[in-house]
Amino acid sequence: MKTPIYFDNHATTPVDPRVVEAMMPFFVEKFGNAASRNHSFGWEAEKAVDDARKKIADLIGATSKEIIFTSGATESDNLAIKGVAEMYAEKGNHIITVATEHKAVLDTCKKLEKHGYRVSYLPVKGDGLVDLDMLRDAITDKTVLITLMYANNEIGVIQPIREIGKIAHEKGVLFHTDGVQAVGKIPVNVIQDNIDLMSMSAHKIYGPKGVGALYVRRKNPRVQITAQMDGGGHERGMRSGTLNVTGIVGMGEACAICHREMPEESKRLQHLRDKLRDKFLSELDEVYVNGSQEHRLPHNLNISFAYVEGESLLMGINDVAVSSGSACTSATLEPSYVLKALGVGDDLAHTSIRFGLGRFNTEEEVDYVAGRVTEVVRRLRDLSPLYEMAKEGVDLSKVHWAAE
């Protein structure tokens, strides 16, 4: 077993060697521009892009013409939300989203608010899921778009996408979902799930960074978006810019592998995730899983180790790469807004750790990490005045803290 161990697969994933192999010829030998229409270099590149497009479409139940390549999911989110808002501005100016979305969605919505759009940020329930009645009630005759993520990047909870899409379509509203954490990991089908637009990223599914895609539905309804990047009119006018052929080939191969191996891989990762969780729950007191355990990605575990601050725990397990919802680990010095939206108190948010398992993790690594974390949590609790007080029976919520 090699250290450091990588358990942060929600942030990014290593590129699968099979993907690298597929990409290799497109750096030097097959370097053509897919938009070059009059020589074999261009044709070769165009064919590679078409093949990749097909593989991506197949993974999500779409058709090739519905896949628009971008630089990644942040761009896809921007293009979908701003593109719909601009295209359908005459129909209405209202967008619905939820508080636990990725910043690429939230900040895009905030930008639109500055330009006169109205955005409803729905709260989520304690398990992280959206309340469908509340969603239905939020729709007005001015609503043009619901943008709601498929699966959350911190807590891994899977939203009731099919029902959300159904509600949107009943009300004649378009439905965009950020599918970054779900696509390639769990079955996603844009037709069955009633999705009109979906953002995807290659580097979360063992493909390269810097390439992503946006699914844009062509039938029932035919979705139109206003381009946010002007230029040569690539991607049927929706996204100008020379295609990243090498990256696109990699994304296509990554999708094909996910498509083939998903049933087996998700079962294996769920087993490992459950083993990790059960080890913590049996060895330690006062640990809390954040978010729904039932509607959850198979490879995600987000857990709070009460009375142990997250950054100090990360410091103790410095040969394991995970992330924390603690303020000390964030650029803003605020604890995770996702956990806050679930109603998790700041005190527990500071003690949360996200484990994201992936294709290349082994059972041996899970056993090692479980042991290391347990040992460090125990050590830090011996150091924690809060744990000592809790054990003495002090109700910490009733203590008057000097800093308040």
Binding site: S312, M315, A327, H350, L383, W401, A402, A403
Partner: protein, 137 residues
């Protein structure tokens, strides 16, 4: 973020971890910070009432590595000092000793506050009875 070697040393080998009887009249207890803020420090000083010298110090800290290191260092520094000398310890001394980056300065401020709070608690205990200033003079 990269931690300085001194922070790592205190984190891996914290000095003077533990608790003393907070009802002991010669023990001053300072508890600062809040769980919601991600930092709580408990610092305890045991003072010799006839000399005013801090003979023992213990801490427990909930917080990041820099917070743990700041309070661990504080217990080392206050030992052997009089309570008034201990009050002269400044957070900037801790910042310099541990090479804390700007984002971690609040950890050192908290450690300074913990010393002050512990001394205040000790002095409060002695206001009613025989104050140590009197006893020391």
């Amino acid at each position: 973020m990269a931690y300085s070697n001194k922070v790592l040393d205190h984190y891996n080998h914290p000095r003077n971890v533990g608790s003393m009887d907070k009802n002991d009249p010669n023990v001053g207890t300072g508890m600062v910070g809040a769980p919601e803020c991600g930092d709580v420090m408990k610092l305890q000083l045991k003072v010799n009432p006839s000399t005013g010298v801090i003979e023992d110090a213990k801490f427990k800290t909930f917080g990041c590595g820099s917070a743990i290191a700041s309070s661990s260092l504080a217990t080392e520094w206050v030992r052997g000092k009089t309570v008034d000398e201990a009050l002269a310890i400044k957070n900037t001394d801790i910042v310099n000793e541990l090479s804390l980056p700007p984002v971690k300065i609040h950890c050192s401020v908290l450690a300074e506050d913990a010393i002050k709070a512990a001394v205040a608690d000790y002095k409060r205990k002695h206001e009613t009875g025989e104050g140590f200033e009197k006893a020391a003079s």
